[in-house]
């Protein structure tokens, strides 16, 4: 823990510069925001209906789910050039990169399938039958477990990455949208958009450990819809996008209590932090902008106009 903190502050002092890359679902573009100037510095054309977005571990490659192009595009983020496309199955929406930096686990929303692609051979390694409308994807830090959540089946599907087979299926509340492992993989969290809850699973037993719900003053509970979420340094707190309630909740990851609500843009969807996690960038689909949150003060400090229907966000450092 001490070593981790030291590492963070070291990084913070040497490499503060960075970029947030945002997919604009209805513009077929990516907006690149500087985390220093908080302005859009570049816009790239990509495939149709870009949604999921992530970098590999050394940030030399950017992967983009181009849902309506039925492909995952691979971009050189330094040149902005699309290098090639990976076979992804139909309608890739969200994905996650295995810690081996080689295997992408992709949710094929229209086909009730999770596709595993080897990014080096560019071949499909496995296709796994999951529930209706797979969406949320996560992989454990040790790489042994991958998760797919299915929106209409309302389950988290637990995939053994060794055999590429399901070993558990756990029910969650309606329309699960996003999944994350935290605390070195000890816990796995799932958000349920229509159920309005966050469920915490104990990874070892795949059993429910806690469940949180949200109340935003002046907003009907039906419209408080958790979608994307990310954790602060040390996994102490989660910031949870609450969709059409236009708020982000701050959840204590030890007590599982909601501590704060922050007003952001309309229909807040996904998010990512800057390098030292002092700032959080949320994509707001309906208002077409990104809200910058001061993490310590828990305040929105700026809105940045991007393209139409910003969806995913991914950070990369540039100062090193």
């Amino acid at each position: 823990m001490i070593r981790l903190t030291a590492m963070f502050s070291l990084l913070a002092s040497t490499a503060m510069a960075g970029e947030i890359w945002v997919t604009n679902e209805k513009d077929d573009t990516i907006s690149v925001i500087s985390t220093e100037t908080l302005e859009v510095i570049k816009t790239y054309d990509v495939g149709e209906r870009p949604r999921g977005i992530l970098f590999n571990s050394d940030y030399s490659r950017l992967y983009i789910c181009a849902s309506d192009s039925n492909a995952v595009q691979v971009m050189d983020p330094n040149s902005g050039e699309i290098l090639h496309e990976l076979p992804s199955g139909d309608d890739p929406e969200q994905f996650v990169l295995h810690p081996d930096d080689r295997h992408l686990y992709i949710a094929n929303e229209d086909d009730a399938i999770t596709t595993v692609v080897d990014v080096e051979t560019r071949k499909v390694v496995a296709q796994i039958d999951v529930g209706v409308e797979p969406e949320g994807m996560a992989v454990s830090p040790d790489g042994k477990i991958a998760i797919t959540t299915s929106e209409t089946t309302n389950m988290a599907h637990w995939i053994d990455t060794e055999t590429q087979e399901l070993f558990a299926n756990t029910l969650v509340d309606s329309r699960p949208r996003h999944a994350e492992f935290i605390k070195d993989g000890a816990e796995m969290w799932v958000s349920s958009e229509i159920g309005g809850t966050l469920t915490v699973f104990d990874t070892a037993t795949q059993t429910e450990k806690a469940k949180m719900s949200f109340e935003v003053q002046g907003v009907h509970p039906d419209r408080v819809q958790p979608v994307g979420f990310e954790f602060t340094a040390g996994d102490t707190h989660a910031f949870v996008a609450l969709g059409p309630s236009n708020h982000v909740a701050v959840v204590n990851a030890e007590t599982y209590e909601v501590e704060d609500y922050i007003l952001v843009g309309r229909r807040v969807w996904h998010m990512d932090f800057n390098e030292d996690r002092s700032m959080l960038f949320t994509t707001n689909g309906v208002s077409g902008d990104v809200t910058v949150i001061d993490v310590e003060k828990r305040e929105a400090i700026k809105s940045i106009k991007v393209g139409r229907f910003p969806w995913g966000a991914a950070f990369r450092p540039t100062g090193s």
Partner: protein, 387 residues
């Protein structure tokens, strides 16, 4: 024979341990209703209207069920004009206590009153009539189709919001038209609006050729108004009124800006995924009745998933409880009203090319649930079967 085997399965399911394989059989009954002739043949009602939705719901249930050892079957029966729907309904109810019904309102209540239907769970997916949610309600009958009143309340909210309060209406002569017009008058009163004038559509000429001459004259004596409401639920003449009115005014109601339970133009809230699943399977667009049948089958699926039971007492209790919620691609969880069995749901206000708004509109508040600003609210309903 098949029915007997199923009966045995049901009997066994109650006694066996939680993780054992269970099967839920759902009956689907279509009672053919005479379709009145319409001036245009541009939009024929699909043969599989409703049933296709039930099949997509079944496929969704099966995908979920395979992870839980739960399977589903749909037994479909069709009754043609002149045949006795009650005999077929009896057969289906003997095989399974779950029945999705596509029929006229009188047939629906007659089926609900059968001795075999006692303790069953029936779904009305075809009749929007207010009476079925009011004094004519049945305790074993749920409604996944939005009532006419929910749809006209949604449109009335839109009229209030747009401040289109000087209103006139043209009503067709079919039962569905007059029933819609009645629901509309009720909604206008509910939201503080009224009609300045009403006319009945009683032309027997073919409007495809002379709409441009007849409709301006027909609408001329309305004088000035903000919006023209069309009550033409069989879609006979309404399409010829648009752009032919004397005054340049919006047309709303059965044509033009319509309030509907489902529409292919709903893209948000994941609806695009349901459309693409449906269209891939059935090669046509999903109608409001398809949606109602889908919701009925998914309601049962959701209840089985969460309770791992197949008996109607357990499933009905769960469906009517606070725990139940159906993710219905309308942006908020769908639940059932415990005073008349109506599925609470947002209503789309749309034209054929785009969604304009979704009711309940912002600002129409309610003490418990804004969705109950649409249709018969608890104090308004004379339904006693649910008490």
């Amino acid at each position: 024979m098949k029915h007997l085997v199923l009966g045995a399965l049901f009997g066994g399911a109650l006694a066996v341990p939680v993780c054992a394989e269970i099967t839920l059989n759902i009956g689907y009954l279509r009672v053919e209703q005479p379709a009145p002739p319409t001036l245009s043949n541009l939009d024929p009602i699909p043969e599989s209207n409703g049933l296709a939705g039930a099949q997509t719901g079944l496929a969704d249930n099966l995908t979920t069920g395979k992870f839980l050892g739960q399977t589903y079957e749909l037994t479909v029966a069709e009754v043609y004009e002149g045949e006795d729907p009650l005999a077929t309904a009896r057969d289906l109810l003997t095989a399974s206590p779950y029945l999705v019904i596509d029929a006229g309102p009188e047939d629906i209540t007659a089926i609900a009153d059968l001795a075999e239907a006692e303790g069953a769970v029936l779904f009305n997916t075809s009749a929007g009539d207010l009476a079925l949610r009011d004094a004519e309600c049945r305790g074993n009958l749920l409604h996944t189709l939005a009532s006419d009143a929910m749809r006209t309340d949604a449109l009335a909210q839109m009229l209030v919001k747009k401040r289109w309060d000087d209103l006139v209406m043209i009503t067709g002569t079919h039962a569905a038209d007059t029933s819609y017009a009645e629901a509309m008058r009720r909604s206008l009163t509910k939201f503080g609006l009224s009609l300045e004038a009403e006319k009945e559509w009683a032309f027997d000429a073919d409007m495809r050729r002379n709409a441009s001459q007849e409709v301006p004259l027909f609408t001329q004596d309305f004088g000035d108004y903000d919006a023209l409401i069309i009550a033409d639920e069989v879609h006979d003449f309404g399409r010829y009124v648009l752009y032919n009115t004397w005054e340049a005014r919006p047309v709303v109601g059965s044509e033009g800006l319509s309030s509907v339970g489902w529409s292919p133009v709903i893209e948000q809230w994941g609806a695009a995924q349901l459309h693409s699943r449906f269209e891939e399977e059935h090669e046509r667009e999903m109608t409001a009745q398809d949606y109602a049948a889908w919701a009925a089958v998914r309601t049962l699926g959701e209840a089985v998933t969460r309770t791992n039971a197949t008996d109607p007492e357990t499933l009905r209790a769960y469906i009517m409880s606070d725990q139940f919620e159906l993710a219905g691609f309308k942006g908020r969880p769908l639940t059932y009203r415990d005073w008349n069995g109506q599925l609470r749901q947002p209503i789309a206000i749309a034209h054929p090319r785009a969604l304009v708004a979704q009711a309940p509109l912002e600002g129409f508040l309610h003490q418990t649930n804004e969705l109950d600003s649409l249709g018969l609210d608890r104090p308004e309903s004379n339904c006693e079967a649910f008490q």
